[in-house]
């Protein structure tokens, strides 16, 4: 088969940081190429160069053997390259057809003369035809804000197909989809391949890679570390290449003592609505015992974010009560929660956990800045604050260039360690950890996992919310699964199969699963 798109020694530097280091990629015509690698390995940088959003520092891009310069997405589209971004680039207040034709509007013609007015009827007709040809489920006149995430992704794909691209790049397409929507997407992509399109998918989900890919390129720290065909490889081998060592994340999670019967944290009928008045957390009731790690799993966007905001005082409930250590703490503000003995690792470390433009030491006391030892008569005691910082750096192995610099200069893993150091050093009784290892390097992941287990083993309680299923399964003592704002099931991580978890995450409860089996 001929090469469709090739890169020769493609390199991209951001100041001193080399995001892509002499990448040589070769995608054949009409194949599905998966590019895998950990977060921060440089996959998205590379794709942004192929789509003209970034310009390479050095190296060449060849399409059908001919060198091209891609200065903008317009160049890329003109060369037949289309991209579906991880975060959709759609305009919510416009309709499906308006989004698909954005930038390529059809104008009315009167007597052979062009008018500046848009021909909406013709636009709708063309888009409906396109939807039918590709067997997709969409309504051309719906507004984007009213359709599902999976639907929005189909709009993004159609947007590119309308522009007659031959090469379709998808950046982490399954991150926001339910397992069923993932299956539909895989079918759609395979169908497109049959129609002659070349498809590049960026992902770090190996199971999907094995279902989808014809060939796979593995990237690690900006370099290509492996090129394999799907038929010659296994999930295990890919994981090994991605991480660079044999085993992926197995922390020793042996319990040293029994879970106590005392209930530490209890939510009853917890409910809240989003900005549009839609219920996103509905009647959630659960208990966490002292000395237990409760995992909350689920596909992203099923109410976990809102649940965490409710639990950490960033959002108000419309109904329900929360008890902690025997006290009613419903709708308390974060400051009061921290004082009561709840440590919080928020979902987005830069939005809710740290202040990028402030120093490391300032961030080390954030949330606890009213404590007597750091603040007397409204004035900070810099000496104790700096001593605290130095202690955290040592105890939590935080690696940083400049101790007096801003926290924004730290890598994701080290910034996350600052949060963990701060929250655990306040000696809380309960830790609410949300996505504690998102976008963090492998070494830090291991360290953070060990810290969470150590905290539990000291007799404390943890609520762990994560979209990384492996993290939930390896750390938790008990797991509840969320689907559409409700608990779809509760399982023991040691006994449940991955298949059963998958079904729970798709909202198919245990009873229904048993029922299926009987039939």
């Amino acid at each position: 088969m001929n090469s469709m798109i090739q890169t020769v020694d493609l390199t991209k530097k951001f100041n001193d940081f080399v995001a892509n280091d002499h990448i040589n990629l070769d995608v054949k015509e009409q194949e599905i190429k998966c590019i895998v690698g950990e977060n921060g390995a440089g996959k998205s940088t590379m794709m942004n160069m192929l789509y003209g959003l970034l310009q390479p520092t050095s190296g060449k891009i060849l399409i059908r053997g001919k060198e091209v310069t891609l200065n903008s997405p317009v160049d890329a589209i003109a060369n037949g390259i289309g991209m579906v971004h991880q975060h959709f680039k759609l305009v919510p207040s416009l309709t499906v057809y308006e989004n698909i034709l954005l930038g390529a509007e059809i104008t009315q013609k009167k007597g052979g003369m062009k008018t500046p007015f848009i021909d909406q009827k013709e636009e709708i007709k063309r888009v409906e035809k396109l939807i039918q040809e590709n067997h997709l489920e969409l309504n051309a006149t719906d507004k984007i804000e009213d359709i599902s995430v999976g639907g929005r992704q189909r709009v993004e794909i159609l947007k590119m197909l309308y522009r007659n691209v031959d090469i379709l790049i998808l950046d982490e397409p399954t991150a926001v989809l339910t397992p069923q929507e993932v299956d539909e997407l895989i079918a759609t992509l395979k169908n497109l391949k049959e129609q002659g399109k070349t498809i590049i998918v960026i992902t770090h989900k190996l199971r999907e890679v094995m279902e989808l890919a014809d060939s796979i390129t593995v990237i690690k720290q900006g370099k290509v570390v492996g090129n394999v065909l799907k038929k010659d490889t296994s999930e295990r081998e890919l994981a090994q290449m991605m991480v660079g060592r044999d085993v992926v994340l197995t922390v020793n999670n042996e319990r040293k003592q029994q879970i106590e019967s005392e209930i530490m944290y209890k939510a009853e009928n917890l409910t809240t609505v989003n900005d549009y008045g839609k219920e996103v957390v509905s009647d959630m009731s659960f208990e966490v015992h002292k000395g237990e790690i409760l995992g909350i799993a689920g596909v992203e966007g099923n109410g976990q974010s809102e649940l965490v905001k409710l639990m950490t005082g960033l959002m108000e409930s419309t109904k329900g009560t929360v008890f902690f250590d025997g006290k009613d703490i419903t709708n308390w503000w974060p400051e009061k929660l921290r004082k009561a003995g709840i440590g919080i690792i928020p979902e987005d470390r830069y939005a809710q956990g740290l202040c990028r433009e402030m120093t490391v030491s300032d961030n080390c006391i954030a949330g606890y800045h009213g404590e007597k030892d750091v603040c007397k008569h409204g004035l900070f005691n810099k000496k104790t604050i700096n001593a605290k910082r130095d202690k955290y750096i040592k105890e939590f192995d935080i690696r940083l260039g400049d101790v007096n610099g801003n926290i924004g200069n730290l890598s994701g893993g080290n910034a996350q360690k600052v949060i963990i150091a701060r929250e655990l050093s306040a000696n809380p009784k309960l830790l609410i950890a949300c996505q504690p290892t998102r976008g963090v390097d492998i070494g830090s992941i291991e360290f953070i996992h060990k810290q969470i287990l150590k905290f539990r083993d000291a007799g404390n309680t943890v609520i762990l919310i994560s979209s990384e299923l492996s993290e939930i399964m390896s750390l938790s003592d008990r797991v509840i699964v969320m689907y559409k704002g409700k608990i779809s099931g509760e399982v023991s991580p040691k006994e449940v199969s991955m298949a059963a978890m998958g079904l729970l995450m798709a909202g198919i409860g245990k009873e229904e699963q048993d029922h299926e089996k009987e039939r």
Partner: protein, 304 residues
Amino acid sequence: MELLNSILYDTVYHSAPIILCVIGGIFAYKANVLNIALEGMMLNGAFISVLVEYLTGSVALAVIAAIVTTLLWGLVFSFLGITCNGNVIVIGLGINLIVPAIAKFVLKVMELANISLQDVGVADFKINIPGIKSIPLIGGIVSGHPVITYLAFIGIAAAAILMYKTKFGIYVRVVGENEDSAISLGLKTQKYKYIAVLIGAFCCALAGINLSMERMAMFTSDMTAGRGFIAIAAIYCGQGKPVQSSLYAILFGVARSLAVNLSVYAGPAAGMFDTIPYIIMVAVLAVVSFMKFKDVKVRGYKFD
């Protein structure tokens, strides 16, 4: 009867400059570059038109000069705010401060308290529409306005068509709502922001000409009297929709007209009517905002 007639005529008369500022401002508002320099740009149009007519005696030259100089202010605003990524509020404020200062300085140099035009009068600009003029009631209200007043009302429809029926309108809205999306399709987002601001400058120039030359045949310092800011409030109340925002502008015209006409009867107390538009505006903005955030459960919520 005569009073009602005169109130309605004045409503049209006082609404026009605010409507022009509104339809000029909505495009920048939709493109997410809030143009708070409407006030300064309008004053520039008012000042330059009268000044040029006073010096040259040519109305056409006066109109062209006013439009060109106001567009230059629009370019200054766009260059600093869009190309240089400056803070549009600070830049807009700067324009709002410097334009009246320049006008006052020029008046001082010319040793005039205000500029009164001698060779043209207010009556010269009034257009009496034959046919309509003779219709009772309506004739007296619709006929007999200067040309830009008519343009203002036609402009509402033009702005609505431009905003919703053309490529340009869609692009401006996309640039304001999701700039990433526009960039990923290769739209030149800066170009649309520039055009949006320049449309605003053009309309403000017309509003200024209407205010000084057409309606009064004179220029006095600070004669725009906050109309640019009232227009911004109207844009916010109408959420940038051409027709709704213009209706709020007309509401101000009504209030202003009441204040002027009733002063004959109510004496100094008529000044109270001047407060009506501001009270309505504060109430409307507060209610609109309350309704928007009423059901938001996230604490410390901010729209970005």
